[in-house]
Symmetry: C2
Subunit: 368 residues, 2 copies
Amino acid sequence: MLQRPPAEPGMREDEVDTPALILDLDAFEANLDAMAGFLAPTGTKLRAHAKTHKSPIVALQQMRRGAVGQCVQKVAEAEALAWGGVTDILVSNEVVSPKKLARLAALTRLSKVALCADNHDAVALIEQAAEAAGLRMTVLVEIDVGAGRCGVQPGPEAVALAQRIAGSPHLIFGGLQAYHGSAQHIRTPAGRAEAIASAIEQTRRTVEQLRQQGLDCAIIGGAGTGTFRHEAASGVYNEIQAGSYAFMDADYAANEEAPPFRHALFVLAQVMSRPRADFAVLDAGHKALPTDSGFAKPWQRPGLRYVGASDEHGNLRVEDGVAPVLGDKLRLVPGHCDPTIDRYDWFVGVRGGRVECLWPIAARGAMS
Amino acid sequence: MLQRPPAEPGMREDEVDTPALILDLDAFEANLDAMAGFLAPTGTKLRAHAKTHKSPIVALQQMRRGAVGQCVQKVAEAEALAWGGVTDILVSNEVVSPKKLARLAALTRLSKVALCADNHDAVALIEQAAEAAGLRMTVLVEIDVGAGRCGVQPGPEAVALAQRIAGSPHLIFGGLQAYHGSAQHIRTPAGRAEAIASAIEQTRRTVEQLRQQGLDCAIIGGAGTGTFRHEAASGVYNEIQAGSYAFMDADYAANEEAPPFRHALFVLAQVMSRPRADFAVLDAGHKALPTDSGFAKPWQRPGLRYVGASDEHGNLRVEDGVAPVLGDKLRLVPGHCDPTIDRYDWFVGVRGGRVECLWPIAARGAMS
């Protein structure tokens, strides 16, 4: 069951039902513009990650500002985007289920679609799906450039897998997926720079070895909000896969002295209990504000700290400043934007204190 | 957008699309029967908590086995239950938003509905909503019996609030909400027993003081899966609000040498990458298996450990035993059943290795 929208256009923000996912439209648009501005002089293109925003509406706004397409992690996300008018989609992830591959093959008749592989058996499964659908599918080789998760090793392993793809009658070798996920969250700029320098070098060498075998990489993709300036300046990567930049969250903000993007995403929550002078309870616990990357932070409410979450309750310590009263509504900056957005059915777009728009989060819960 | 069902009745479990929420129907029904059996000799009734299961289908099965009704935390959950045929619902939580109170008042024409209060201003808001709707609403006083979250103090504070409710023309005083949430997760049985002994004593005294003022408690409710046997045996509580017992999870199972309930809830996930001999990657990360109470545990797959979660990936360490191959599907026991169920649109009911039923999770995402 889709949940009812928590607002209607024209309402004041303090009339919005809680918990609600608030998108500050001025900040959001400034973030999209800022990323376009960062990338323009580098010649590197944005292929923004829809795992974060889960919405073809957001995707199309990114593409209007120059993004060449979108990344997703899941076939169901690709479907939601293609059905919503997005015409160039990369599944930046492995897909090994024949049923999912059949869905993805079907989708390539509606949108340009590519996916990743890191295994010869997986390439055989994709070839079967493409053959059964009577079309050709584009496959990138994922290389492990330091994250230690998916991916073949850069160099000869990657070349062998690319040759396997290129030699499959219904497949097209599409390039390299070279994302260093764990580097995004290294706390110091120097630490991130060092991790990405190594990723760039491994990618550069693999691209060169592929070229020696006559294999060109249409896409050399990777990077996230934490590191994209390094990949964009590398001369190696040609596509940047950042997603969080459009929204920001407490975790990314903690990594920079002057974050280049503004907080555009908030959860609006209400004070539902005020049992003690130094303590208030919000109607937003970890079902509303996932805690995998730490607690949310009250926005522009000095003296308030979100110090604990149960399923439906958020515990606020009142340290000083203006104490909240029963019924007060306040914005919180989520600890981690991706799983937070994925909890909601609607973005509530706000500008100048008023609700301007409601956007369904079409790929909410799209895990398959 | 509702996600497509990951299965059809009659399928083998290994044909189910991943990630999927699997309900082992034999274990689930055994758990419902076991709770009914535990409570029968005590005379205490079950008012199972729907914050866990989010489904009127589950609710009605609990009520067929003797549960007097359901608890919820959110008005939107109450709506989903009432619309699905549940006729007795307690919002075991505070509601202070006039719009939410109007929705709850409307719902009392369809189902028996009660809610909690811990504040005089909140009681005034409920009175206004009931008057505006032209009906009477039942309000329980929540007392803080040790959890330190919502609730007035037991004793005189609680009596004053109950008198305020009883003196409001459109309200009915319904009893006490006396749930010790944090005690559910104390690791030792002795620790839980001690915490609940104190909760019982505070509740007993408050009930007695209310009686001296001529105020009877129709409901004296509380308890969860971790402590219910104490409250049920107390002679004070008359309703038990357990929810997780129907499913169990890794967190609750860790607290008992011989848990009285079986694991009935699993997430089925697929091995999507096999980059190293000692490492496999599943298609279920923390969006599929929330980590607020720790990582999921592979079920009946010795030698496999779930050691890390990113948004869409679960990292499996392969320690020994039978190593998983690419495409393998395996069951995982969620760390915490409540937020896990709330991530999915469908329960896939399985018996004897086959899909027997699909149940929509009607209150999925019902946070308002």
